[in-house]
């Protein structure tokens, strides 16, 4: 992503499988926040969510997290409300959006929510 002023922003995605966990610590170093994409067709997406929130607990506590739920057109349950209930139980109120990762506006809104969570005073 080319930013105004000539800076370049690099976005790093990391595979969620545990065998790639050696990459996770390296990638969060210097990161401004975590975007977590969850697959709603998985057997237990809540378990996935809790796993990653626990794993990145330290990083999230100093930055923030925004959650995108993918594949909701294939599997409508759990609903976005169900995710909020689970998150409330662990004391979190992050943005949780239904996301099609191929749609630019979906991903843009998810990142905007991450930025505004970091600083609501950020002017458009």
């Amino acid at each position: 992503m080319n930013l105004p002023g000539g800076e370049k922003l690099h976005l790093y995605g990391t595979p969620g499988q545990e065998r790639f966990d050696f990459m996770w610590d390296i990638l969060v170093n210097g990161g401004i926040g975590l975007v977590l994409l969850l697959d709603n067709t998985r057997a237990d997406p809540f378990q996935d969510m809790k796993f990653f929130l626990d794993t990145f607990d330290k990083f999230i506590s100093t930055t923030t997290v925004a959650i995108g739920v993918t594949q909701m057109d294939l599997s409508s349950k759990p609903t976005i409300d169900d995710y909020h209930v689970q998150l409330r139980n662990i004391g979190l109120k992050p943005p949780v959006f239904a996301v099609d990762a191929r749609v630019k506006s979906d991903v843009s809104l998810l990142i905007q929510s991450l930025l505004y969570t970091l600083d609501p005073g950020l002017e458009e």
């Binding site: 992503m1 080319n2 930013l3 105004p4 002023g5 800076e7 922003l9 401004i32 067709t41 998985r42 057997a43 057109d73 294939l74 599997s75 409508s76 349950k77 609903t79 976005i80 409300d81 909020h84 409330r88 109120k93 992050p94 943005p95 949780v96 959006f97 239904a98 996301v99 099609d100 749609v103 506006s105 979906d106 843009s108 809104l109 998810l110 990142i111 905007q112 929510s113 930025l115 505004y116 969570t117 970091l118 600083d119 609501p120 005073g121 950020l122 002017e123 458009e124």
Partner: protein, 398 residues
């Protein structure tokens, strides 16, 4: 015969949940619905994954049990099993279709041999109703490709900026909702608008968990609580005009919520007229508000936000994300939100109207919430970088 109208009923064995779902979608998609997954007792053929531990055990039991129905075995191992159609992994669509065709032929042959005399059927006899257990087991999966074409399944958010607000949301003549001296007059009663009737109809439909229609002397709004969808055969301009009008007593008396009429139950519905229930109500509330706040809110008392709205599927009014981010941190009065964010109050009012309609925002009732002031917002240490990322996302030049 059109195979898709008479899919083979298959039972899947020895697969974990993910493989099971994948195979069900594979049969529906690449195999063009030639077969559909049902519960084992209702199946015509069995498909086994012979490479899983459970699959091997179940397959042995199946072979020992001498069941009459055709058997398809998916396996890495090339050795054949007597009486079974073997498909090597990874499964190729052509091979799967070929095996299913053979299984169908075997079934037809068996049926012919066992066919009872024709006289046992009476002309005009109704087909027996489909047993509950015959329904596909993956209820939460979208099996119909038409389902995925529905607007409600994929409609991305529309993000309004300040310039587009007046034209899209409208305003109320005679009041400057942004003037603090006129705040007392800047409210509206949702019950006097289409919004209030839609909210009531949703409540009835959800409580009874039944499809209902909201009759308004206009096109009926069909509410499908099972799918969290509504259907309304009007275009957006018509809906915006209707939602923005206060409903007088004459029209109000025509409003009713009834079970779905038989003619509407059977009617074909255009896929682009489906909306998600939340997205529809959110938009209707924005159009009723026109930059005012709901009369149920006391402007001098703080409001709170229970959770972030699902913005990717809603109309995003100007500064809505910033307002949500601030209110999620703690309760504040509406004028305070406008002041802290340095935005016009109408943007806060319209957001609160929409969030209240979905039950996401409410007035603080506990004394403790009023007692402690919400924290002051501090600029993030990376504000410069965050601003540059934001301006790129919004397509602005710095």
């Amino acid at each position: 015969m059109d195979k898709n109208k008479n899919p083979l009923k298959v039972a899947l064995h020895g697969m974990d949940e993910r493989s099971y779902k994948m195979m069900a979608m594979y049969l529906q998609g690449p195999c063009k619905g030639v077969a559909a997954v049902v519960n084992p007792p209702n199946a015509e053929i069995d498909i086994f994954d012979a490479d899983s531990v459970t699959g091997q055990r179940l397959l042995r039991e199946r072979i020992d049990g001498q069941a009459a129905r055709p058997l398809i075995v998916l396996s890495l191992n090339a050795s054949s099993i007597e009486g079974a159609f073997r498909i090597g992994k990874p499964v190729k669509t052509e091979e799967m279709l070929n095996a299913l065709a053979k299984a169908r032929a075997q079934l037809e042959q068996t049926a012919k041999a066992a066919q009872p005399p024709r006289s046992s059927f009476t002309a005009g006899t109704e087909a027996p109703p489909v047993a509950e257990a015959d329904k596909p087991v993956l209820k939460n999966y979208v099996m119909e490709t038409d389902e995925q074409k529905k607007t409600s399944k994929h409609q991305a958010a529309m993000q309004l900026n300040e310039k587009g607000f007046g034209a899209f949301i409208g305003n109320v003549p005679g009041i400057d909702v942004n003037d603090p001296r006129q705040f007392a007059r800047a409210s509206y009663n949702p019950k006097e608008y289409f919004q209030g009737y839609v909210e009531s109809a949703y409540k009835v439909s959800r409580e009874k968990n039944q499809t209902r229609q909201l009759n308004s002397g206009w096109n009926p709004l069909i509410i499908l609580p099972d799918n969290d969808e509504v259907w309304l055969d009007v275009d957006e301009n018509q809906l915006r005009a209707f939602a923005g009008l206060a409903i007088n007593s004459t029209l109000g008396s025509k409003m009713s919520v009834t079970p779905l009429s038989p003619d509407l139950a059977d009617a074909e519905r255009a896929l682009d007229r489906f909306h998600s229930m939340d997205a529809f109500l959110w938009k209707v509330a924005c159009w009723a508000s026109k930059g005012r706040y709901p009369s149920t809110i006391d402007i001098k008392q703080p409001v709170y936000l229970k959770s972030w709205p699902n913005f990717t599927r809603l109309l995003v009014t100007p500064h809505a994300l910033r307002i949500a981010a601030l209110l999620v941190q703690g309760p504040r009065t509406l004028p305070d939100v406008a002041e802290v964010l340095n935005i016009k109050p109408q943007y806060v009012f319209v957001f609160i109207s929409a969030a209240c309609s979905l039950g996401l925002a409410a007035q603080v009732r506990r004394e403790a919430d009023v007692l402690v002031q919400s924290p002051e917002i501090k600029p993030n240490k990376n504000q410069g970088l965050l601003k540059r990322i934001l301006s790129t996302l919004l397509g602005k030049k710095a």
